[in-house]
Amino acid sequence: MAEAAVQTRVAGARVRSRMRRRRSPLGVTGRYALLVGIALVYVFPFVVSLANSFKTDQDAANNPVSLVPKTFTTAAYQRLFQSDLPLWLTNTVIVTVLVTAGRVLFDSMAGYALSRLPFRGRNAVFAGLVAVMAVPGVVLLIPKFLVIKQLGIYDTYPGMILPMLADAAGVFIMRNFFESVSPSVEEAARIDGAGVFRRFWSVVLPMSRSALITLFILSFQASWNELPQMIVSTQSPRLFTLTKGTAQLASGALSAGSQFPIKLAAATLMTIPVAVLFFVFQRRMMNTTGGATKE
């Protein structure tokens, strides 16, 4: 039965690539025009922030949408690099790596269990998951701080990392992803007598690469950009992350001017790693068609 499924799948993929070329609702030109048009709109804000990060404060305040700096300057970047940027970067990388690893593993395990492993209380767990997402985070800042402090992990790496190791939305995404996947492949492994852990590890996970990569990218992005949690869990400058450091650099009253260049330079620096990562990994999403049974 598994063999047959593989056959159909491979055949299907071949048919598909032929069909795609034959039937397209729009002409090729039309489709590209649409793709390029949307892409330009979507990249625009990034280009504007990149351009403005090389302007002087004056220029940025007066001509924010111009894409060409009047006088090209790297002052904003110099100021960023003169600060504790290397330290902030190190902390951000530590947090991001651990949090991303934790989330991908724990969220997918829980998502799998909620979708495929019938256990008592499963519905309650799922309902609870949706419920906790529904409480606005802003009201939880102080209580979360009190919990972190009570556990004795305030102003430490565990305090920064532990609370972020799992997220309800990630579990929710994975659970619903497994719901949309046909359980037939796994069923075959089950008949072969594979245990739950083996089934999950060697059948389900490899088959879910596209969803795992999605979760990976979302987790990376979330932990890389996290600010409120960092304010809640730390105070010493030694534990500053990029977001906390730049938030502080760019803070200030009206008298400090608008400081667009430094804010946007920080935004640009923080955007690029996520964008590069996405570019690299999105390719792998495509190659998963056929999942475990291919290759």
Partner: protein, 420 residues
């Protein structure tokens, strides 16, 4: 429906856990609530290190404060660390809730009542040796229910900022700086061209309120009771409405600007009403614009403006109040304040160096001159919501009866504790 019932059950289970946690905590981490702030003299262990939390306007301010604190630290032998807040409000709230707030921190006169109302602030000002050197109006701005909560560190007032090129282009000279409402109206009309409007202000009470003050009104009367719907206030807003309807004045938002300074800096307006923070913004963002600052014109009841005050708040939970008191005394000394003024352009809170400051910043004298006739936002908890609501009504001032707006403000004010 199932979801909610289960969620409730789960919540119940968690509540139990929370109660347990709370029980454990009473002995340890959370600590007991702070001792009543009103009691006895400031006294404590003078060797406990101090932490100071500031919301900075930039490196200049950060470094100046750090240097001063370091100098004090060396002199007193007490360790002191200056931290720069990423989000001052949140970090203070965490400190107060967790029982370890910074010993000293920035407060503004419109937030002092909020922190004072729950006992977070130590009313230490009476014990300051240099208490009498401050402008009395500043000390008053930090007074809540008769207690003086924060030593003023600097302040700002609103004044009239004029684009000198546009001024000359309209055929106006130094003699034409407006000193009355009528004159302000006339020059604003003259300065209005298709390219720019005569006067631009942020459409908020925090700016338009100057007209209420100049007409002899204010949100509260001399006894501190709500008085928003007074005739004087109606007169003030009616004047502002007239300027708006003539087109001589516009809200900065109508010009696509975030605040008056932006409308002024981008040359969409020839005049604006702003505080001395505008000089920093002009230098950094709009240095090509030449401008002059003059006092606001007098209204029917004389001169009037609004002041905004910064001060040093001391946590009632501080473990070294003696040291903190000593540090505040040091930081508010005339020579320190003059140093801060030079470093980041604030107006000192002590009267004795007013002349030195004016010599240092001749172009900004009008701001300091305003101190004599300025009013501050009443320090009452909950006032910010009332003002926000007021602001949103002022948005429609050009098409609304000022009396109607002020009546609603009066109702809202009367709902606040102690104002009715």
């Amino acid at each position: 429906m199932k979801i909610t019932r289960r969620a409730l059950l789960a919540a119940g289970a968690v509540l139990t856990a929370t109660a347990t946690l709370a029980a454990c905590s009473s002995g340890g981490g959370f600590g007991s609530p702070a001792a009543s702030a009103s009691s006895s003299a400031v006294s404590s262990d003078n060797h406990q290190p101090l932490t100071i939390l500031i919301g900075t306007s930039g490196d200049a301010e950060t470094n100046a404060v750090k240097d001063s604190v370091a100098a004090w630290s060396k002199q007193s032998g007490t360790q002191a660390t200056v931290n720069v807040a990423s989000d001052l409000g949140q970090q203070l709230s965490q400190g107060f809730a967790g029982g370890n707030p910074p010993d000293l921190f920035y407060v503004t006169n419109d937030s002092v009542a909020t922190y004072a109302s729950n006992g977070s602030l130590e009313p230490y000002v009476t014990q300051l040796k240099n208490k009498d050197s401050f402008y009395p109006s500043l000390v008053k701005a930090f007074t809540v229910n008769g207690k003086e909560y924060a030593a003023p560190k600097d302040f700002s007032t609103l004044a009239l900022v004029i684009n000198t090129d546009m001024w000359t282009a309209a055929g106006l000279t130094d003699k034409d700086y407006p000193t009355t409402w009528d004159q302000l109206e006339q020059v604003a009309q003259k300065l209005t061209t298709p390219q720019h409007v005569g006067l631009a202000v942020s459409g908020q009470f925090e700016r338009l309120g100057v007209f209420m003050a100049e007409a002899g009104g204010w949100l509260v009367d001399d006894n501190g009771k709500a008085a928003a719907s007074s005739d004087a206030n109606v007169q003030g807003l009616t004047y502002a409405k007239k300027l708006l309807s003539e087109g001589a004045m516009k809200y900065s938002s109508q010009l696509g600007a975030g605040w008056g300074g932006e409308a002024f800096g981008t040359q969409k307006a020839a005049m604006t009403i702003e505080g001395n923070w505008i000089s920093g913004a002009m230098t950094k963002d709009y240095s090509s614009v030449k401008y002059k600052v003059v006092k606001l014109p007098a209204g029917p009841k004389g001169e009037g403006t609004i002041q905004y005050d910064g001060g040093w708040g001391m946590a009632s939970q501080s473990k070294n109040k003696g040291g903190a008191l000593d540090l505040v005394t040091y930081l508010t000394q005339p020579d320190q304040q003059l140093g801060f003024a030079k470093a980041f352009g604030v107006m000192p809170s002590v009267q004795s160096i007013a002349d030195q400051w004016k010599q240092q910043f001749p172009e900004q004298t009008a701001f300091l001159d305003g101190a004599a006739s300025s009013k501050s936002i009443p320090s009452v908890a909950g006032i910010s919501d009332v003002i926000k609501n007021f602001d949103s009504q002022l948005d429609g001032l050009s098409s609304t009866d000022p009396k109607q707006i002020l009546d609603k403000v009066q109702t809202n004010l009367q709902a606040l504790p102690g104002l009715s």
